[in-house]
Symmetry: C2
Subunit: 157 residues, 2 copies
DNA sequence: ATCAATGCAAATAATTTGCAAAAAG
DNA sequence: CTTTTTGCAAATTATTTGCATTGAT
């Protein structure tokens, strides 16, 4: 029985810490446990709150100091959804090419993958003289069900 | 002889002001002239600097107050390229679906359009129950010429 | 022991806002 | 005239940082 994606990601992050001679403190442990036990996008503030449920001693400064480690490791991705604070996406290790649909009606964020889009991106980039390193695609959309039915089953309609 | 894209966009923005009962002050005029006379992405600070070359009396506050009008009108698009300040893209009126390649080596930003990608986005979004309103696609890439030749003709290699 | 990591509180920096004066319509 | 807009300076707010102390190895 192999590790699930999230467990594998946690392990990879611990290796990352080791490689850099960084220490596994109890606060970092709490933060890591939080990050690699959710599929949700989160803010720094939410991460602080959730981590404190595991270890009361986690401070805001430590969260802000750990976040860059998570993004540098490539296991978490910083996202801008047009708010005045950043979001972090913990699903990047499992789905390095996933895209986002942000619903204006529901405030819901749906992820999807498309090999076709990835292929086109690579072809065009190559033609322009570049090699794709990462990509981010965000679609802002409205909810069709809401439009038809006046309501929808998704999150916050 | 018809207006160029930029001139048309400027006119559309003035109409937008009229519709909202907003006044065309000399400061706004300077800001608008600046915005609709460039193809470059710019920051609030750059817009202030350039606008002041046209009208010394433009203040930072007015720039920051005008920027939301520009984005609300749909003629300028706010962009996040991972810096700690925002960029604004004045090419959105002419090319509502354009995408960006950001070169890690050159710091250069190249725009491109792809109907194919747009089509796929619409198909997938529809399948998931959404109607596409806007999209943004950013590709982070490296420069192939730099890799092969040790240098490249693009901006800052 | 040694050096990294922490919490706290103060600092930073882009952006926003209150207000009295100025300008547009 | 009336209402919007402006510049200024102070406020806001997410994020960062200096420092003395604590904790991991």
């Amino acid at each position: 029985m192999s590790l699930t994606g999230k467990q594998a990601a946690k392990k990879r992050f611990m290796d990352f810490l080791g490689t850099r001679n960084l220490r596994l403190t109890s606060q970092r442990q709490a933060i890591i446990d939080t990050v690699f036990n959710t599929d949700k996008h989160f803010t720094a503030e939410q991460l602080l709150e959730w981590s404190r449920e595991r270890d009361q001693s986690v401070s805001r400064a430590t969260v802000y100091r750990t976040l860059p480690l998570l993004t540098e490791s490539g296991l978490v991705r910083e996202m801008d959804f047009g708010k005045d604070y950043k979001f972090y996406d913990p699903n990047y290790a499992d789905h390095p090419n996933h895209n986002h649909i942000i619903c204006q009606d529901c405030d819901k964020i749906v992820e999807f993958e498309s090999d076709k889009i990835a292929k086109i991106e690579e072809r065009i980039s190559h033609k322009l003289g570049f090699t794709v390193k990462t990509q981010r695609l965000q679609i802002t959309a409205t909810c069709e069900e809401l439009k038809r039915m006046g309501t929808c089953k998704k999150k916050a309609c």
